[in-house]
Structures are given as C-alpha cells and as structure tokens.
C-alpha cells in the first residue's frame, strides 16, 4: 500500500512542477494571500506581522520583518521563501540565497492594481492559479470604486503614534496614504514621504476633516479625551465634528486580499 502511494507520488510529481511544500512567508499581506489561495497547509514559518488568519499564528515566529535571522530561517528547512520588499536585513537575505533556496521578493505598491499584482506574484511563486482570487478581489475593488464615486473627497490625516502628545503621521508613499485614497480621501498632509513626527502648527494648517488611527492597546492610542485636550488636534474639523476612525492595523494597512473590504469600511465610517 505504502509503495503504491510513493509510486503515485512519483508519477504525480512531474505534473505539479516542483511545487514547494515548506514555505516561509515574511510579510502580512503575503501570508493573507497565501491563505486566501488555500495554501496555508504549505506554510512552515512566518514573520511577526503575519497574524491573519488566526491559524497562521501557530506557526514558528521569525521575529520582526526587517531583522530576520539567517539561521532561524534555515532552521525551518524551507524550500521556498516568500518575502515582502521590506524583508531583511540584506545580509540575511544574501546568506539564505547562497543556500540555493529560492527567495521570491514580492513588490509593494499601495494601490488596487498593486494588490492584484501581488496576488499574481504569490500565486505564481506557489504554482497556484491566482485568477479566481484576483477576480474576487477585483470585484470588491469595483464595488469600492462605485461607493467612492458617490461622495466628494474628504481631507484625512493618518496618525501612526502619539507618544507624549507628539504626533507621528503618514506622508506620501505609505500604506496609510494608499488606504486613504482607496477610501476616497486625500491625505491632508503633503510635502514629505514616509511616517514623520509633525509639529502642532502643521496639524492646524492641514485641518483634516477626518482622523484615522490604528486601534490598539497601550500608550500609542489616543482616546477621544486626549484628542479634545490636544491643543492642535482639538482645533481640527475632524475632532470638532467627531470624525475619528480607529481600525485594526494589519487589516487597515496590510494591502492584501482584505484591503477592498477595509477601504469600504473606512469609507462608510467617514460618511456615517
């Protein structure tokens, strides 16, 4: 019986062109796409940010995306590594590549087209047809576009952290600005890229209609009372009109298959 299975496996092998069965994933969007493609069973490890869906959390955790350990990666005996553009450090990625384990870097582009492209790249790396998932996600993006067309654009500001009252907000080339655009809002902050600490005067100048934040526990989050008592924020139309939205971080900023839903939820919250 066992021989029959082995024989069958040998015969089947050439058909499935060298499908890798021990995949390590580094990047939350990539693990979500892998799961949405129904390939969770092939994963053997993940980075710290990959926590959705919940079954992935049981996998060995390789630590922070940008500080992966070479021996840690190799210890999982992977035959394929799916890595986000941010995964590193470069020394680790070079060492791993020198063992001839394929490392596939997936591009990061914070647009609807970027998400569809990522799904294609992950599907190709895993030798799975990405078309059904792409079509499904594209349909959600189309529905989102319709919802977006029904409203005039708002000016929104994304607050990453607020330690000690010092606001760190999102500029251009960020996942946060990407999701604001998808939800039909403009970034009220212009003129810098990445996440930066900004001054109180810049906040009053920006005068956002909406504030968007990640919902989390600990000292990073700003409660409504904190917003009211923050000199600069309390002057913004957003706080005055109570348009403050908090959403779960990896859902909001992941740029994976759940992104159209996240953007739609954000859009509805803005126009509630």
């Amino acid at each position: 019986m066992r021989y029959a299975i082995v024989l069958a496996a040998c015969l089947a092998a050439p058909l499935q062109v060298a499908a890798q069965e021990r995949v390590v994933v580094a990047g939350s969007a990539l693990s979500e796409i892998t799961a949405a493609l129904g390939q969770t069973h092939r994963l053997v490890g993940r980075d710290q940010t990959s926590t959705y869906p919940a079954e992935i959390e049981a996998l060995p955790d390789l630590g922070y995306l940008r500080a992966l350990s070479a021996e840690g990666l190799l210890s999982l005996n992977p035959d394929l590594i799916l890595a986000d553009a941010d995964a590193g450090p470069p020394e680790t990625m070079d060492l791993v590549a020198s063992t001839e384990i394929p490392v596939v870097r997936i591009t990061a582009d914070f647009t609807a087209e970027g998400v569809i492209e990522r799904i294609a790249e992950v599907g190709q790396a895993l030798s799975v047809d990405p078309a059904p998932l792409q079509a499904e996600v594209q349909a959600s993006f189309d529905a989102l576009a319709e919802a977006r067309a029904a409203h005039p654009p708002l000016r929104a500001m994304f607050i990453l952290t607020a330690q000690g009252g010092q606001i760190t907000a999102a500029g251009s080339d960020t996942a946060a600005e990407g999701i604001l655009h998808l939800a039909g809002a403009q970034n009220a902050l212009q003129g810098f890229s990445g996440y930066r600490q900004i001054t109180d005067e810049a906040i009053t100048n920006a005068a956002p209609d909406v504030l968007v934040m990640m919902e989390r526990t600990g000292d990073h989050s700003l409660e409504d009372a904190d917003l009211q008592s923050h000199a600069a924020l309390s002057l913004t139309p957003a706080v005055r009109d109570g348009r403050v939205i908090r959403m779960e971080g990896s859902y909001l900023l992941g740029f994976g298959p759940r992104t159209p839903d996240a953007a739609l939820q954000l859009l509805h919250a803005m126009w509630e």
């Binding site: 060995p60 630590g63 350990s69 070479a70 210890s75 005996n77 060492l95 063992t99 890229s193």
Partner: protein, 357 residues
Amino acid sequence: MIAAFLPRPLAASGDRSRPAQLLLLALLVLLLLTSAVSLAVGAADVSPLNVLGAWLSGEEISIRERVILFDIRLPRMLTGLVIGAALAVSGAVLQGLFRNPLADPGLVGISAGAGLGAVSAIVLGSALPATIAAAAGFYLVPIAAFLGGWVTVLCLYRIATRAGQTSVATMLLAGIALAALASAGTGVLVTLADDAQLRDLTFWGLGSLAGASWVKLLSAAPIMLAGLACAPLLTRALNALALGEAAAMHLGISVQRIKALAILSVAASVGAAVAISGGIGFVGIVVPHLLRLAIGPDHRFLLPASALLGATLLLAADIAARTIVAPAELPIGIITALVGGPVFLWILLRKRGLVDV
C-alpha cells in the same frame, strides 16, 4: 595571639600570581568549551561533529549545512570572541589609565561617537551620491561608526593635551561632554528619521552579532587584534600608574607615551567593535571588576584574564540571544545588560567603597 592583629606579610596577601595563573588556565578551558557550544548550538539542527565526520569520510556536505556552519556560526563565533575580548580589555585599560573604576568606553565618548557615526549613515546614507553609497554597500554603517569613534577620541586627546602633557582628569570630563554632544547629534538625526529608519536604529542601538560575516570579520578583526596586541605593552606601565603619575615617572615609565598608546588602542578596538556589532554594554565594566575580586589589580594577569572572560561572556550571551526565541533572535545588548546590571550591583554591594576610591 598578638600576631593575629599584626598586618599579614605582604607576600601572603600581595602575591597572587599562582592563583592568577590557575585562573587564566581555567578561563582558557572555559572559553574553549563555550566556543565549541557556540558552534554546536543554534536554531537549526546541524551538528558540527556529524558534518566533520561526513567530511572525513568523504561524504558530500549539503549546502545548507555548509552555510549554517561555515558562513553563519563560525564567523559569528569568531566575531563574538574578538569583540568580547576587545571590549573587556578596553574597559580594564581605561580603568587603569584613569585610575577610576567607572571608566568604560561608554563614558569617554567612544561609543557615543561611534553611535553618532552609525546613526548618520543610517539616516543620511540615502542622501549620499549613488556611486559612494554603492561602493560602501552594507559597510557604510560600520565604516561610519568606526570613523565616529576615532574622531571623538582624537578630539578628546587634543582637548586634554597641553604643552605635551595629557591631563587624565580633563580627558575623562571632556569625554562626558563629547558623549553628550554626540548624543545630541544622534537625537537630531533621530527626529529626521522616518519610521523604517527608526526601527533600524533601535535594532542597531541594542547591539547584535546577527550581521556577522566573513567580510565584516576580516575587515574589523585586524583593527581589534592590533588594539589587543598593545595590551601586553601597557601592563607594567598601568601597574606603575596605580601609584600616581609622578611615581610612575620616577619608576621610569614614559607616562605621556603610555597615555597615547592606551587611548588610541582602545579607540581602535572599541570603534571597530561598535562598528560591526552595535552598542554592546556592560562587558567592559563588569568583566574587569569581577576579575579584580578574584585575582587583584595586577594588570599582568588582569588584561589577559579580561580578554578570556570577556570573550566567554559575550559568546554565552550570544548563544542565549539566538536560541531563547528561536527561530527569531534577541538583541545581545539586552542579554548583557540583563546579566551585567545585577552582577555589577552585586559587586558594588559586596565591596562597598569601590566608587569612593
């Protein structure tokens, strides 16, 4: 009866060379054992003995085993060894030179200067002309750290030297001022940094041997070894300096030359160490203190023993850093501070008056 109250003969309490020689031997054995464990242990299940056996019997070694053993664990073990020795000896030399038990590479501004160099490279590196950035590659941060440490020490030395005489007290105080300046510069750069750069800064600041590679080791180890090689030249002079500068001069020590040699060798060792591993604290201060408790202040034994124990402790801390949360890693600075802090407090409590000298 009365004899018990008389001071014991100097020979009995002062000559500790036999126990010191035994301790050196014991430390050497301990270091060899730790090195072996460091090669044998890790996140991946690869045994050096099996690989050696396979190699001897002519079997083929898999690429994975070869990379883990020879490109990850071996350079990392050697890097830990050299850095641990360099940091501990630097601490012992500075404490002898300044005749101050608190002297540490962190205090005289070397680490802060090297830190400023590294942070500058991380934050401003992207603004460099593409040709320079491409040529420097991964090594931009280490090179900048090394230069930062050296420039700080050269400034320190210039400030403290007047009419050919270097004032040790001025050097210590100016070191604190330069460290504050360097930290201020680092602070300015941190506010300029974006989120991704901030994450890099945090990981770099806590120190790690994770980036160890042959290229880094071969570029930094000769500098650290040169620094370490100066130590034997310093032992007699540092012993004499314990009596005071004037007494040392009367004993025929060229005090000015010794100061220059000591501070420059320390700057080379620490600059190179910070350059490849980030800021690893506490090794330079805890190791010499522990050893003085055991073998006394004689630098002939203190310096080699510091090298051996420093290397052993750093290797042990690294083994912990890369196995506790495997397959992820902890920054090694967390481990050395977690172990070093309490040990240092214990030394203080055991030996009150240590800082009141």
